[in-house]
């Protein structure tokens, strides 16, 4: 369960958003509506002016990023110098989580990762898949995905696989997008406009 009720002012923009759900949610809205700001506050890369963030029963508002069990996946979310295989296992290694080879293969296959070599040399789409897989294999409590699905070929298939994988791993996910095409398999839908969120399903 992710619970967030936060306010943040950035220049002329005012974020005043609420969220309380578990499972896989889509947060859609146009450019500049506050999607990234909202996710950044939940992830801990931005502090709210007011409000709180809770993951499960733990308030994470003032916790450092590495203590939140929340992975933020956006463009640029990868560790450039690592080879794909090591990258996939990196999060689990940091968290000292046991990771079976079969599990890594399953996730990689499901997300269509067939590349090898240094992650920095991969295409943008493949980097996104590797980042999503790495986040999943680290077994956090929450994964926040900022527009990454938008840039993937076969978005619906990857999304459907990711919904299934995160559900089985009991990981809550909020994914943002400017539109909801391909997001039929999500549990909940939220929209955000001018910094305000609203649950639509």
């Amino acid at each position: 369960m992710i619970e967030a009720k936060v306010r943040k002012r950035l220049g002329n923009f005012q974020l005043d958003s609420e969220y309380k759900d578990s499972g896989f949610s889509l947060l859609s809205g146009p450019n500049g509506s506050g999607k990234t700001t909202f996710l950044s506050i939940i992830a801990g890369t931005l502090s709210p002016d007011e409000g709180f963030v809770k993951v499960g029963s733990v308030e994470t508002t003032n916790l450092p990023i590495d203590k939140r069990k929340t992975v933020f996946v956006a463009s640029g979310s990868y560790i450039p110098h690592l080879e794909v295989e090591k990258h996939l296992r990196w999060g689990a290694m940091v968290r000292k989580t046991r990771l079976e080879d079969s599990r890594v293969r399953e996730v990689a296959e499901s997300l269509g990762i067939h590349a090898s070599g240094r992650v920095s040399e991969l295409s943008l789409g493949t980097k996104g898949r590797v980042a999503l897989a790495t986040a999943l294999l680290a077994s956090p409590e929450v994964i926040l995905v900022d527009e990454v699905f938008s840039g993937l070929d076969g978005r619906a298939g990857v999304l459907s696989a990711y919904v299934d994988l995160t559900k089985r791993a009991r990981i809550d996910v909020i994914a943002t997008s400017q539109d909801d095409a391909g997001f039929e398999s999500v549990d909940h839908r939220y929209v955000i406009s001018r910094g305000k969120t609203a649950r639509v399903s």
Binding site: I65, D66, F72, G76, I79, H81, W90
Partner: protein, 254 residues
């Protein structure tokens, strides 16, 4: 016609003209055997070794500081860190002399540890670290500032602490910047004179190269000084070129 290219080449040529002229005269009309004798090469070796040690210390000790400044801009701290580069360098030599003096508490303490700065390799390296650290930090900090912070945020989100993120993500992807900054700092150290003329004029009975050139100029004659200078320039150029080739070949390109 690419006027920007012409202006750039012209500006660089004007800047290095004195060096080129000295190279021509030192290896040509004014060549003097005393300028490329064993004493000159001993001095050059001492300068290279002491500068390399100084740069090694800077990389280990001050790279974290540069990274911190890049992620947490603080004008006061940065101004303070620039101080050694903004004062006349003989002042640094005098300051180290004072710190090492048996008349001061610090000097007594250092003496109790068997540490002495005056005319020692320790003093020479310390002086070089003090004067070239601001150069190193200023050279590497912009590299860190330009790095995509998303890589670090991602690593922290996966559970990596600040220290682990620095060691496992930032450093492996900063080697190019660290090496480039090291080369700049190495050049600065090798050319230092003001502070080392005070604190380490002679080490193991060998003069650091800039001091030797000054010695030749003031007591032996212009020709040996010019020839020794030309030899030092050539050695320095060869070293820098070799290190840049190594830098280009070994560093990961993110």
């Amino acid at each position: 016609m690419n006027w920007l290219k012409i202006v750039a080449f012209a500006a660089v040529t004007v800047a290095v003209l004195p060096i080129l002229f000295l190279l021509f005269e030192g290896l040509g009309p004014l060549r003097d055997p005393a300028g490329y004798g064993p004493q000159v090469f001993s001095s050059i070796l001492l300068t290279i070794v002491s500068s390399a040690i100084a740069v090694g210390i800077e990389v280990v000790v001050f790279t974290p500081a540069a990274y911190y400044f890049a992620r947490n801009p603080n004008s006061v701290l940065e101004t303070v860190s620039d101080l050694p580069a903004s004062v006349p360098h003989p002042i640094i030599g005098v300051a180290l002399l004072l710190i090492d003096s048996p008349l001061t508490p610090t000097g007594k303490f250092l003496d109790s540890l068997g540490i002495n700065f005056f005319d020692t390799l320790t003093g020479l390296v310390v002086a070089l670290v003090v004067i070239s650290t601001p150069v190193y930090i200023k050279a590497v900090e912009p590299f860190f500032a330009s790095m995509n912070e998303s890589h670090e945020s991602f690593a922290k989100g996966l559970g990596a602490s600040e220290l682990r993120t620095y060691a496992s993500v930032v450093i492996p992807n900063s080697l190019r910047g660290v090496l480039s900054a090291s080369l700049i700092s190495l050049s600065r150290s090798m050319s230092e004179f003001g502070s080392i003329a005070i604190i380490a004029y002679s080490v193991f009975s060998v003069y650091p190269a800039p001091v030797l050139i000054y010695q030749y100029f003031s007591s032996t004659g212009l020709s040996p000084a010019i020839t020794a200078s030309a030899v030092m320039i050539l050695v320095g150029l060869a070293l820098m070129a070799a290190l840049r080739v190594v830098n280009a070949k070994l560093v990961i390109r993110p």
